[in-house]
Symmetry: C2
Subunit: 386 residues, 2 copies
């Protein structure tokens, strides 16, 4: 890890395979009016592009996700975040499809973000990085597809913030998308969604190590604030029932009290506390605090209808894609009503759309966990398009 860009992979230019990165010198015009150049995009590909280049699937990752969809994470060493759904013989079958996943713009796993070097100064952008939107992330992905020579996508697939990108794709590039799978997502961030993100941002900027974002030089990052932000967000990824099932009010076992007993103190007495603390502490090793600020901001700005005169149906008007929308009944971050809202607009726009609400106790995170029903729905939807 270099000090300037601690999370970045080396940006070489081998096109296909794992842990790739491309530096694109063509300027990227952003929604804010700013222009970004160069644009680094870190990505991975799985499987082979077929002769007529018709089997490409773009997978879009969630807020703190990454391009390592089905390969080991370079920092944590853990298996990719969607190995359950992506691979040979899996619903997103890399034996038959060419799968691409890119680290989103603004992130910290090799794509351009606040930890990247600003060519104008030779120093990390930090908070001088331009504010980005979900559409800007999609524009960067489109530059990558141009680089890879992929004209059309058999499908774009994403969960959560990845679903937002999958929604935007056919609105910006209607000629290029044949199908879109949007899982546990929304067409716009609600006031409550914004509020939770604002708590996380407040925790980061309250950390004295944040220093206006200029913490890269000495490596003293605002990890305490970032951990708190992650803890707050993590609660929203789980359902109340799921938390109860997983932890209830069970006490944490300790050497001095192996059966678990109240300590009447401020240690993590309850299992749910130590679980949350672990989520916070382990997150800071793999994520940059400034990236967290930028990406949460991007999702807060997300309101697809607003960009089309307030009509979500109008947003979909030019799309040529068929859609598969999946929600989970215990997801209170992006509840089923948000998915239904998308489906209604797709129908109003005369688009082909299938919708299913799946039952799961695991809340928003259900799409990342063992979800055989979801896998069957994705599998069937992709095969139906052939």
């Amino acid at each position: 890890m270099s000090v300037a860009d601690p999370f970045a992979a080396p940006c070489t230019d081998e096109r296909l395979g794992l842990r790739r990165c491309v530096r694109i010198s063509k300027p990227l015009k952003l929604d804010s009016g700013a222009t970004l150049t160069p644009v680094d995009i870190a990505y991975e590909t799985y499987g082979s592009l077929n002769a007529d280049r018709s089997n490409a699937i773009l997978i879009c990752h969630a807020l703190t996700g990454d391009q390592h969809v089905a390969s080991d994470h370079p920092i944590t060493g853990k298996p990719g975040w969607w190995t359950r759904a992506v691979g040979p013989g899996k619903p997103i079958d890399t034996d038959t499809h060419f799968v691409v996943c890119a680290n989103v713009l603004g992130s910290c796993l090799g794509s351009s973000g606040p930890a990247s070097i600003d060519p104008a100064t030779g120093l990390p952008y930090a908070m001088r990085f331009p504010v980005i939107t979900i559409a800007d992330m999609v524009r960067a992905q489109q530059m990558l597809l141009d680089h890879l020579g992929i004209e059309r996508l058999a499908a774009v697939i994403g969960g959560s913030m990845g679903g937002m990108q999958a929604l935007v794709w056919p609105t910006l590039y209607p000629e290029r998308v044949e199908a879109a799978v949007i899982i546990a997502s929304t067409a716009r961030h609600s006031a409550q969604n914004i509020a939770f993100h604002e708590v996380g941002r407040a925790a980061i900027v309250a950390d004295p190590n944040w220093r206006g974002g200029d913490y890269y030089a000495d490596g003293n990052a605002p990890v305490a604030g970032l951990a708190v932000a992650r803890m707050a967000a993590h609660i929203t990824y789980l359902s109340e029932a799921g938390l109860t099932e997983k932890f209830g009010r069970r006490l944490q076992a300790r050497p001095e009290s192996p059966d678990g007993a109240k300590t009447f103190g401020f240690d993590a007495d309850f299992q749910v506390e130590s679980y949350l603390r672990y989520q916070g502490i382990s997150f800071v090793d793999r994520f940059d605090a400034n990236s967290y600020l930028y990406i949460t901001r991007a999702t807060d700005y997300f309101d697809l209808a607003e960009d089309h005169g307030g009509s979500l149906a109008l947003a979909f008007a030019q799309s040529r894609a068929r859609y598969c929308i999946i929600s989970f009944d215990s997801d209170w971050l992006y509840p089923t009503a948000e998915s239904r809202n998308i489906v209604h607009a797709l129908h109003a726009a005369g688009k082909a759309a299938t919708f299913v609400e799946l039952s799961s106790p695991f809340g928003h995170d259900a799409f990342l966990l063992d979800a055989p029903e979801m896998n069957r729905v994705i599998d069937g939807f992709l095969k139906a398009g052939r």
Copy 2:
């Protein structure tokens, strides 16, 4: 404000009226096994105790509430937190009832808490204050009633954490309580409740000004961490629908953009952001961070059934009170299911219990807001007891 005990009222010993405080030298034995002495209890009384001392009502306040139930807050100058329900001619009628409200043990408005002076050292307790429970708060209130010469309560009434105290009262002192009103509360803290509190505590202890709790000497309190804790908690007090109704995705008006326009930056672009920030910032003027740690811990430990062999019905077995349980349909902090759980146990124990779920868009905070239906229920329940 003194440095040592910045939120404390002077502890004089005039019995009745506003802004009273009593120092009780009798040791208070706590659930943790520790003993606290002396015990300061700050309180207010409204109305007059009748000749046979049968018209006393104890009001129990919520997590960050105080004894100023119907009088101006000494720091903020704002009207008392329950002026809508308490006063002459109000449902809790101070023309006919003698109303007592005490600052809970562990708080910072004059009752003994971490900001109080430890007589053993002459310095503030800080984190050397003993860990307290909801039952300990009730024991302290019982000491106050002894001091005031009140043998029996016509009713004990509380919302949220106040409801927990109202639940505990007849279990600890069955001879002393004729009626209990429990509003927007629960018989035990859930894993999700604990998780939200743990985020707030993590934000406080992550603030470098916290310094293990010893921040009283120089007045540099961990206000940034406390503000984040308040922001996180505040989201749980409001409903998603209420937030949407109140703010939606409306942008914050600014001098340079009076109609509200995205700034593509990290200012509070959305109204809900500036509202939350204000909630955080204004809270730190009136509350002590260590008290926040202790009181959230007390609610996390709360599990009334656990103290009675796992049976909530058994907890109520000795009670002679009749009960009124009120929930709000949009309260996701302590949802109606928690109230129903209490009512089932009361019925199983053969107690007189009435239960009503009220409709409100305002979430958990509904009981603090204009709630005419709640007022009618309380009024009817109290009158039915005469």
